[in-house]
Symmetry: C2
Subunit: 280 residues, 2 copies
């Protein structure tokens, strides 16, 4: 039998032998690996014709759910743990460095630059919380001029961009630049858990997998400084009921932060967390 | 570290341990296997953040290319050999039985029932060809009352449904029912090769893989009879330039049919092919 003809046994080789000669090495490598795992999946599970049709229809609906405000394929990647995996593979850090987690879809560029200690909560909702700590290098030396870009949902569980006209613009967002001591401080609210959008095909899939769509409460941080790797992370509230079952698998042990009751100043909570940057 | 938190090493287990308790066994099995291969792909290839973004954008465009007349995800499955693989897995046949190949998107239900020997070519284009042979069981006994449903592109490389208003309705389509001798015969045209739709994301991907979008010339057959498995197949023209490089990997050695010049009757070509059905 001509090797270029299809057979179940040699399906991977048959498809991959078709790769052209002038293909970039990386394109060839990625596609060969994709075909190997795609066929491996279908063979191992003995995928039926009806299941294949279900899969085609699911992917089609997922694509058609996407628009300028909704990215259902990123959501799919998130709930299957792929987004976290790609983040982990590309951000392996030395012991002691703060770990990355998923970026999420709600960051907005060029948030207002605020003075240290200022509040980011503009809607007056939620329990006031002081976030503070230091940005250091791996040896504990302060990093001056680091940009601490923060964002979170409000007390109702929505980001400002999800509720234009309802929340004030830039609610629960801000950028803070460290001084010579590497310290940062700002007031926000104790974060609240919320569901990822679950009214589309990914939400239906989650339900069929017996999973809930909630993310545990967290504050987003993007910490950047010249000479250091970009740090994309969250701090998580340790007593959140969804901490062990984040719908997008964003939780890492080292990112669970203390949130403590306080009577100091005008806040009810205080969360101290230091960020340790890795050299670029 | 709590096992439910994410780590690169245990990414598959972390995601799959989240499966709910009340999930159907098959759903759980399929999703666990999917996650294993999806993560396996990303780890083996060390998928970069930029490549992940390219993948998300590609899948989104593929979904958005789909409408009532165009199914870009099926096209994707076809060119990656997945459609053929699923067909093969689900239609393993005994030695001597006619093999399946991909159904394709151009079949239309309820084509006109024609008398044996009639022509299916209504547009007067192409080289007339007589298709004939027998439908038998595995022991060579004729199958009476088998429905031989046939369809092909016209001499310009398009199916009638791709050119409404240009081609006559039901051009190159028809159903023929066998008599006691199991024989079938009809006149059509010697099939011509044609490209699959390549103006979308899948066409761009094929180009990046250094592959052409052509299918070798073939006649489609759907042969059904009570008590036998449904046979979905093509016969291929043996001298086609794309026989070794079908864009959707549909060719099997046993489906390459003789197409011989003839001066008999009013046709230029003759193709004899017997269909051997498998018991249901």
């Amino acid at each position: 039998m001509t090797q270029s003809y299809f057979s179940e046994e040699r399906s991977v080789e048959t498809v991959n032998d078709r790769m052209g000669a002038d293909v970039t090495p990386r394109m060839a490598e990625v596609m060969r690996c994709l075909v190997k795992h795609l066929h491996g999946f279908a063979k191992e599970i003995h995928l039926t014709q009806a299941e294949w049709e279900t899969g085609i229809a699911f992917l089609t609906r997922t694509g058609q759910m996407c628009d300028g405000n909704r990215q259902e394929f990123i959501l799919l990647s998130d709930v299957l743990g792929l987004s976290m995996l790609v983040d982990a593979i590309n951000n392996r850090r030395p012991e002691g460095a703060t770990e990355n987690t998923v970026f999420g879809p709600f960051h907005v560029e060029d948030a207002p630059i605020r003075a240290m200690g200022d509040t980011i909560s503009l809607d007056g909702k939620g329990e006031p919380c002081l976030f503070e700590g230091r940005v250091t290098d791996l040896d504990g030396n302060p990093v001056e001029g680091a940009c601490v870009d923060v964002w979170s949902d409000n007390a109702d569980g929505y980001y400002d961009v999800q509720q234009p006209g309802i929340q004030p613009r830039w609610n629960n967002r801000g950028r803070f630049f460290t001084g010579a001591d590497g310290a940062y401080a700002f007031r926000g609210i104790k974060p609240t858990s919320y569901p990822i959008p679950d009214d589309g095909p990914v939400g239906k899939m989650l339900a069929l997998m017996g999973r809930h769509p909630y993310r545990p409460a967290h504050m987003h941080f993007l910490v950047t400084a010249p000479g250091f790797q970009r740090l994309v992370t969250h701090t998580f509230v340790g007593d959140d009921r969804y901490l062990d079952s984040d719908a997008v698998f964003g939780v890492k042990q080292t990112l669970v932060a203390p949130f403590e009751r306080t009577t100091q100043g005008d806040v009810s909570w205080r969360s101290v967390f230091d960020f340790v940057l890795t050299p670029a």
